[in-house]
C-alpha cells in the first residue's frame, strides 16, 4: 500500500509539471492568450447568421442550425441516461 501510494504521487507530480511547463512563456514557444488560431469559419458565421437564420443570437444558431446533428446526439444521451436510471432503481420505487 505504501509503495503504490508513492508511485501514484510521483506520477501525479510529473503530470502536473508537464502541464505547467506548457503554459509558462519560455522562449516564445506558446501562443498569446487572446489570439485564436483559425477564426475564418467563425467570422463567416458571425457575418451571415442573421441573414440565413433570422436569429440575433449567434450561439443558438450554431447549436440548432449549423450543427444540429450534435444537438440530436445530445438529446439521445440525455434520454439514455434517464432510461438507465429508471432501469437500475426500479425495485426500490414501489412500497
Amino acid at each position: 500500500m505504501r509503495s503504490r501510494d508513492a508511485v501514484a504521487l510521483i506520477a501525479l507530480v510529473l503530470l502536473g509539471s508537464f502541464m505547467i511547463m506548457s503554459v509558462l512563456p519560455l522562449a516564445n514557444m506558446i501562443r498569446p492568450f487572446g489570439e485564436p488560431v483559425n477564426p475564418e469559419m467563425d467570422d463567416y458565421i458571425i457575418t451571415h447568421a442573421q441573414n440565413e437564420t433570422g436569429a440575433n443570437n449567434a450561439v443558438t444558431s450554431v447549436v440548432f442550425d449549423y450543427r444540429g446533428f450534435d444537438t440530436l446526439g445530445e438529446a439521445t444521451v440525455l434520454f439514455t441516461a434517464v432510461a438507465g436510471v429508471i432501469l437500475i432503481l426500479r425495485r426500490y420505487a414501489h412500497g
Binding site: P36, E74, V85
Partner: protein
C-alpha cells in the same frame, strides 16, 4: 505570465480532481473528483475561443462601434461546451444510481472491500 490565468485555473482543477480519484477510498468522493475534472475541461474549451477585448456574439442592443467580426468572441466553442455540460450531467446521474445499487448489495461504500463478484 499574468495573462494566462484561465489556463492555470484549468490545471489546478484537473490536478485536484485527479488527486480525489486516485487517493480517496469512498465512492462518493471519487464521483465528486470526476465531476471536478469535467468542470476543468469545460473551462478549457471556453477559454480557447477568446478574442482580446471582445464581447459576446449577440446582436440585440449591441453598441454601434462593436459590430465588426474582429470585436466579437468566437461562438463555436461555446456551442460545444453546452453539449459537454449536458453530457456531464447525464454521466453523473448514472454514476450516482450505480453507487446507490452498490450500497444496497454490499452494505459498505469502501472500494477496497468490494471485491467479490457474486453476492
Amino acid at each position: 505570465m499574468i495573462y494566462n490565468i484561465p489556463y492555470i485555473a484549468v490545471i489546478l482543477l484537473i490536478m485536484v480532481g485527479l488527486y480525489a480519484v486516485v487517493f480517496k477510498r469512498n465512492i462518493i468522493k471519487m464521483v465528486m473528483g470526476i465531476t471536478i475534472i469535467e468542470s476543468g475541461v469545460n473551462l478549457f474549451l471556453v477559454t480557447l475561443g477568446y478574442r482580446a477585448g471582445g464581447v459576446a456574439p449577440i446582436f440585440t442592443n449591441l453598441p454601434e462601434e462593436r459590430q465588426i467580426p474582429g470585436q466579437l468572441v468566437l461562438p463555436i466553442p461555446q456551442a460545444l461546451t453546452l453539449t459537454s455540460i449536458v453530457i456531464g450531467v447525464a454521466v453523473l446521474a448514472l454514476m450516482l444510481a450505480l453507487a446507490i445499487q452498490i450500497y444496497r448489495q454490499y452494505k459498505t461504500l469502501d472500494v477496497t472491500k468490494i471485491r467479490r463478484l457474486k453476492e
